[in-house]
């Protein structure tokens, strides 16, 4: 019997099968051999130019798939990065006498560098700010290229760009050059197709699906976004470099804002979450105008109409629609079989110091004193509950603890170290796990992927490589009793299961301190009992420290060693469950029904 979880090493074929609808396989094979067509059939120079344009554009559009489809960030400057690559080859070979094979990588590097700097300075903003700033960058690029005539030759552009040689043979034949462009394109498609199943790719998807949850789970979200932006810009540069050498002439008109919009339309049309989709979109948007040319005057209107219709009826793009259609008839992938090691948490219990100390913690939002001077110690290996009326500052404390908010005053000591200014993913790297009051999973990813992302945190003491990560994730799922749902897309799980997936995601990262925000909310009685059991097992068998917020007193009473009560941002009581739940202030402010409080 195979002791490893099945599919720990997915073969390329298996991956292909899981990602590409079966009926489309022959089409894919056809596309693969398409660049050989000019050798078999007589194609006009015009047709060859169209294919060359499609191949080079597609590389840039694939870059957009990384930043938009995988990572969920918007960019409207792809044509500018495309232009940087093109101008590097144009100026490099024509003006500075560099060879193509020097100028091309230079162009990729410069485009990547611009992407890196632009990303680093603007990705903190996100959303429509990012769109605006990339538009500005695009406009600046356009103005510089048109007006800095001494350097760029201005609107006249650069003519006479030579084709490169390969293995001593100049690729002056359009057919040979097309073959080279296609090879580059297929390499990029292959790489991007591989990417989503790597650590980086999963981190990108986590950012796309829920950035806050990604950061708290240990994904360095800013770094991931900057990397995505850099890759995207570098790919645009790559496409631009081959475009310049292919068409021998470039001018700023080729790389204006309109072109950026065109790239964006291509990726959205084809389906931004798959490299195949990006390819389909590019080819379609280049061919569509050719097909519609017979319409003459109304050609542009028909073209616009066609694009709008596709977007309206296929919001996920053409590839997204095909995939969805295939998934509705194909059998869902089976849950992974094989033995999974039991969950181990590997927590040193020797240190007698409290695992967590809050010193004079304050968090004010304008005039609202959500947390107003709280001192608190959480002892190692205990379950510590935080209770209090709605709006008393409980979740705020958890958010400050996590690094989502900076405290107004006070300090947070985690295992004696001051982490007050650490970012959330850095705290995750120190072993702080967390669940949310209003469940924050990565809804479009599978249960397994969600939990694997939890295991990706820095310093997680597991072996390197995806196989170990997968195994860890399966152990965590097994622990919460959901290993049979590993392949289910999380948004299709019922509420109670989603709560458990969130806990499993935290457990996959070997937490030392687990923060739970109302884990029992929305669970029914039997599920609550199962949760209580689970929390007890975590503490008893694994020595995990749990700090939880909970309104269900049956859960709190049953699992807690110690309870702290908050009201209006201040601590009003603290002690064992028996002491605290009888405390008159607690009964008055929170529990109500004095007769039952001590039950």
């Amino acid at each position: 019997m195979n002791a490893r979880p099945a599919g720990a090493n997915l073969s390329i074929l298996a991956r292909l099968r899981s990602r590409v609808p079966l009926p489309l396989m022959p089409l894919l094979a056809l596309v693969l051999v398409l660049p050989l067509a000019p050798y078999l059939f007589a194609l006009s120079g015009y047709a060859l130019n169209i294919l060359m344009q499609a191949a080079t554009f597609a590389v840039a559009v694939l870059g957009l798939a990384v930043v938009l489809g995988y990572t969920g960030q918007f960019s409207l400057a792809q044509a500018a990065f495309f232009g940087i690559g093109a101008y590097a080859v144009g100026l490099g070979t024509v003006v500075y006498g560099l060879g193509f094979w020097v100028a091309m990588p230079l162009g990729v590097a410069i485009a990547g560098a611009f992407g890196f700097v632009l990303g680093l300075t603007t990705l903190r903003l996100g959303g429509h700010y990012l769109a605006m700033i990339t538009i500005s960058f695009q406009e600046i690029f356009d103005l510089v290229m048109s007006n800095w005539i001494a350097f760029t030759r201005g609107p006249d552009g650069i003519a006479g760009i030579q084709r490169p040689s390969l293995l001593g043979r100049p690729l002056t034949d359009d057919r040979a050059y097309l073959l080279l462009c296609a090879a580059v394109l297929y390499l990029v498609v292959g790489a991007l197709w591989w990417l989503p199943d790597t650590r980086l790719g999963r981190a990108m998807k986590a950012v796309r699906e829920n950035e806050l949850a990604a950061e708290v789970t240990g994904v360095p979200t800013l770094r991931v976004k900057v990397i995505a932006f850099t890759i995207s810009a570098a790919l645009a540069g790559l496409g631009g470099a081959f475009f310049a050498a292919g068409f021998a002439y470039i001018s700023p008109d080729n790389f204006n804002f309109g072109r950026s919009v065109e790239f964006l339309t291509m990726v959205l049309l084809g389906g931004s979450q798959s490299p195949f989709g990006a390819g389909v979109g590019t080819v379609l948007l280049i061919l569509l105008p050719e097909w519609l040319r017979f319409l003459k005057q109304i050609y542009l209107a028909a073209y616009g109409m066609a694009v709008v219709l596709i977007m309206v009826f296929m919001p996920e793009g053409i590839w997204g629609l095909l995939r969805a259609a295939w998934q509705s008839v194909a059998r869902p992938p089976p849950p992974p079989a094989g033995d999974v090691p039991a969950l181990a948490l590997d927590i040193p219990l020797s240190d007698p110091a409290p695992i967590l100390r809050l010193v004079g913690l304050k968090k004010h939002f304008g005039g609202l004193r959500a947390v107003d001077g709280v001192d608190l110690e959480v002892a190692r290996g205990t379950v510590h509950a935080l209770i209090g009326p709605n709006g008393s500052g409980k979740t705020t404390i958890l958010n400050v603890l996590n690094g989502i908010y900076r405290p107004t005053e006070g300090r947070i000591l985690l295992e004696r170290e001051d982490v007050t200014r650490a970012r959330p993913h850095q705290r995750a790297a120190r072993g702080v796990g967390r669940t949310f009051q209003n469940i924050r999973l990565f809804p479009g990813l599978s249960t397994l992927e969600n939990v694997m992302i939890g295991g990706q945190r820095l310093n997680n003491p597991i072996a390197r490589g995806d196989a170990a990560l997968r195994e860890r994730a399966l152990s965590a799922l097994e622990f919460v009793g959901l290993s049979d749902r590993a392949q289910v897309v999380v948004k299709n799980l019922p509420y109670g299961h989603r709560r458990l997936v969130e806990i499993a995601r935290a457990l996959a990262g070997h937490p030392r301190l687990l923060l739970l925000d109302e884990p029992a909310a929305g669970l029914n009685q039997s599920e609550k009992q199962a949760l209580t059991e689970l929390l007890r097992r975590l503490r008893a068998a694994h020595g995990l420290t749990i700090f939880l917020i909970e309104h269900d007193m049956s859960v709190v009473e049953n699992v807690s060693d110690r309870i702290t009560v908050l009201n209006f941002g201040k601590k009003i009581a603290e002690g064992t469950p028996a002491q605290v739940l009888r405390h008159p202030d607690v009964v008055a402010a929170y529990l109500g029904e004095p007769g039952h409080a001590a039950a």
């Binding site: 509705s328 939002f365 609202l368 209770i387 209090g388 009326p389 709605n390 709006g391 008393s392 409980k394 979740t395 009051q437 209003n438 299709n492 799980l493 019922p494 509420y495 109670g496 299961h497 109302e518 909310a521 929305g522 669970l523 029914n524 009685q525 039997s526 599920e527 609550k528 009992q529 309104h551 269900d552 007193m553 049956s554 009473e557 739940l581 402010a589 929170y590 529990l591 109500g592 029904e593 039952h596 409080a597 001590a598 039950a599």
Partner: protein, 248 residues
């Protein structure tokens, strides 16, 4: 004639068949509770009634009229208010504005009368009165839940669909909320209540149904359900209530 009657309703949610022929009725002036595990289809039932989920088969009658072909907005205007789980309040509006929007389906309601009703609800939810000018997003989770319930009540519905109203509320607020639910019934509003806190739900409800994987398995008077062995084991924990979730 019952106020609400479901006849063999079926609906699908994505690829899953969520409801497999549910028939139930709610009479004018009663509180009926729908119990069941997560994923059993309780929320889907409410969403199907209010027109948010497409009905595949079956009939829904409100006051004798079929409503299952109507759009969600039209169903609201008939007097069915739905308070969904998950606190869907308007984050950029104040508490008062959120509540006033709850009455937007009521034609010919004067502003003075509307403010009077807001004040009446403030008497029930003193926390909301204190926060009347605060923006929705700044409320804590529990306060948002109270606001969602209050907004639903502003519609002055004939039938109120409450989905997990006690979710994330402090015990004392849960007690207050259920006291409010009793008051609402006394004002003549009929309520279909989905709730995980079965003790509380059965303490206010006259009758109840148990839903399991999309089909009804048990139905009866609240007192019968409280005594039912299976119900006790699955939804009541088979033991007497602990502090904070006690029945009155």
């Amino acid at each position: 004639m019952p106020l609400l009657e479901l006849r063999g309703i079926e609906s699908t949610y994505g690829a899953v068949q969520a409801l497999k022929g549910v028939s139930l009725h709610v009479d004018e002036g009663e509180i009926v509770t729908l119990l069941g595990a997560n994923g059993a289809g309780k929320s889907t039932t409410l969403r199907t009634i209010s027109g948010l989920v497409h009905l595949a088969r079956g009939e829904i009658l409100f006051a004798g009229q079929p409503i299952h072909r109507r759009k969600a907005e039209a169903i609201v205007r008939l007097g069915i208010a739905h308070v969904p789980e998950g606190r869907r309040i308007f984050p950029g509006l104040t508490v008062t504005e959120n509540m006033m929007l709850g009455a937007s389906g009521r034609a010919g309601l004067s502003r003075a009368r509307m403010m009077q009703e807001v004040e009446q609800l403030f008497a029930i939810f003193p926390d909301l009165k204190r926060l009347s000018g605060a923006l929705g997003w700044s409320l804590s989770g529990g306060q948002q839940q109270m606001l969602a319930v209050a907004r639903g009540l502003m519609a002055a519905p004939r039938l109120l669909l409450l989905d997990e109203p006690s979710l994330g509320l402090a015990p004392i607020v849960v007690q207050q909320l259920f006291a409010v639910i009793r008051q609402i019934r006394e004002r003549g509003t009929t309520i279909l209540l989905v709730e995980q806190n079965a003790h509380m739900a059965l303490s206010v409800a006259g009758r109840g149904y148990v839903l399991e994987t999309g089909a009804l398995t048990v139905e009866g008077r609240a007192s019968e359900l409280l005594d039912n062995e299976e119900v006790r084991a699955a939804y009541l924990g088979g033991r007497r209530p602990a502090a904070g979730e006690a029945t009155r």
